[in-house]
């Protein structure tokens, strides 16, 4: 290809049909986005319109890794306490998979004190004294259900709606549908507080079949959220900018051979974003300018809460900077036995006492801080987990996985605070009545972001795909 014809070619692809279609900014991405592959010069992250006015600008997705027992936290079941030690009555197993029946499942209770809080009278156990003070900000879903499998698989479903890798995570859909509100930061950030990436890994913030540019960016815990943020010692900023310009040029020239290749295009963008992040990212996560009072609010002055508190304080700073979706995975603790996260198969008492302590103050702090800054109305907080835990015991002192009925909660903009949606049976094993599956949660979150989950679509392999697969109902009862 001669230089002239190459230039022509670039011109055509960037201003041709595809380019125009994309610049038409289809709300929720629209169906024409596959043509956008040809339009390398159009910014895939430019802000896009919503289907209806958004209630919130940002989502903080608090994933409690390992699956807490909400029977120890929110779902007060006097009958469970009464019946503890007895075989679970058959009536409660109705409809459960064959394997559960006939098992040795004795009901189990830990030694909790339960109280009602706030005007809403929501129940909290003694494990969450700080969060309990914010009872009236929360909307509980006590009838959450999902598909129970290994943690990895159910976490994948929680984030992407499928049990197999390949679908985009909720954050990726949001970034795709709405674009970025801050060109200097990724619109979708993952925070965690462990040395290594959270359980299940990057497929949980993957862009799946969406263009690669929409995947989440993971920030490391500790003072350096991102390694290699500083330029090589002897390189000045202007020099690096010069190099970057050359890089973009070389990549574009060569990229003309592969006009449909979104991965190569995403790589060009990744360098541009990286360069801006050199400045914006350290500032975004730098907590030194936060006041002592704010730090104390998040528990930064105590060892047990410091690490998670820092993560949540960072989340708030990212909200302030327009990041759309912040996925926070709770970190591990050194607890005797095999499970370091919420996965209390053994000694759930010690496990949950520790983990509750780790998250209670920081989450309460986050709610208070967002409120005092006037950000609570434009932020959605989702407290979620891959599944819950059984009412019957395991290993004598623990609980097994329960995908049939567990509690999650939402707070913030557009949420009917102080309400409870759904319930479980008398022993807290299965949801009864209306339930909320992960798809419904996704639909509800999208709704609050101003997106109709049925119309947030992407054409993949000739199919119109959406975040909720073929499911999903907005839980209207949760909306203000």
């Amino acid at each position: 290809m001669s230089n002239n014809s190459r230039r022509d070619f670039l011109f055509k692809t960037s201003y041709g049909v595809g380019g125009l279609a994309l610049s038409g900014l289809m709300p929720g991405g629209g169906l024409f986005t596959t043509f956008a592959n040809a339009a390398s010069l159009v910014d895939p992250l430019s802000p896009k319109g919503t289907h209806f006015p958004a209630k919130v600008k940002s989502v903080i997705w608090l994933h409690m890794d390992g699956a807490p027992s909400t029977l120890e936290l929110f779902d007060y079941k006097p009958d469970l306490i009464k019946l503890a030690g007895q075989q679970i009555p058959d009536s409660f197993l109705n409809g459960l998979k064959a394997g559960i029946r006939g098992g040795d499942g004795k009901l189990f209770a830990t030694d909790r004190t339960w109280k009602q809080h706030g005007e809403s009278g929501a129940w909290f156990s003694d494990l969450l004294p700080n969060l309990a003070k914010h009872a009236d900000k929360l909307a509980f879903v006590k009838s959450s259900v999902t598909i129970g499998a290994t943690h990895d698989i159910s976490i994948l479903k929680l984030n992407t709606g499928d049990l197999n890798p390949g679908r985009p995570s909720l954050g990726a859909w949001i970034q795709y549908a709405l674009g970025s509100a801050n060109p200097d930061l990724p619109a979708y950030v993952v925070l965690y507080n462990d040395k290594k990436e959270p359980t299940g890994g990057s497929i949980n913030w993957s862009s799946g079949f969406l263009p690669a540019v929409y995947q989440g960016t993971a920030f490391r815990p500790g003072p350096s959220p991102i390694l290699h943020l500083d330029r090589p010692e002897l390189i000045a900023a202007a020099q690096q900018q010069g190099s970057l310009d050359l890089l973009t040029r070389l990549n574009r020239v060569r990229g003309a051979h592969y006009p449909e290749d979104t991965e190569l295009q995403a790589r060009i963008r990744s360098y541009e974003l990286a360069a801006r992040m050199e400045v914006s990212a350290p500032e975004a996560v730098d907590l030194t300018k936060e006041t002592d009072a704010t730090k104390a609010l998040y528990g930064l002055d105590e060892d047990i809460t410091k690490s998670y508190g820092q993560t949540l304080l960072r989340a708030r700073r990212l909200v302030e900077r327009g990041v759309r979706f912040i996925q926070v995975v709770s970190g591990p603790q050194d607890i005797a036995g095999d499970s370091r996260n919420w996965d209390g198969h053994n000694d759930i008492e010690e496990n949950h006492r520790t983990h509750s302590k780790v998250v209670d103050k920081p989450i309460a702090g986050l709610l208070a801080d967002l409120e005092s800054r006037g950000l609570l109305d434009s932020t959605l907080i989702v407290w979620t987990s891959e599944f819950g835990r059984t009412s019957y015991g395991q290993s004598g002192t623990g609980r097994d996985h329960n995908p049939w009925g567990y509690t999650q909660w939402l707070a913030g903009g557009g949420i009917k605070a102080g309400t409870t949606f759904g319930q479980t049976d008398e022993v807290g094993l299965q949801a009864v009545g209306k339930t909320m599956d992960t798809y419904d949660l996704h639909a509800t979150v999208l709704q609050l972001m101003g997106l109709d989950h049925l119309k947030t679509t992407f054409l993949h392999n000739g199919r119109s795909e959406r975040p909720t697969v073929v499911y999903g109902e907005v839980i209207k009862e949760l909306l203000a």
Partner: protein, 127 residues
Amino acid sequence: MSKFLVSLFVYLALTGSVVAALTEIEEDFMQDIEDIQKSMTSNISLQDAATAKSEAVELEAMFKDVEEFYVKKGDAADAVDWSKESRGYLVAISKALEAKNFDAASQSAVSLAKTCKACHKIYKSKD
């Protein structure tokens, strides 16, 4: 009669594959339902009324089979109800598509998917 049964079982035991075929058909069939349902959902979203409708009609017929199966099987009143409910949604989808009301069709498709899930919770993994 009983002689036949013995020979059938011997045959099944010997071939192995036929045992698998007989018990798996239900799954194959349901897998087909799932595939068509996904395709239909996509076609509703793509506003391809003609294709989506033909799929809805096909699905409705398939659910009729499912319903009959559970009726004959007995002790499965809930499954029969779910099959009926599914057929109801499919009729609604067809009607909505005729009227080019894609939003309504979409909503019914979600309800259909939800019914599938409800039924699978009880019936899918019983081996």
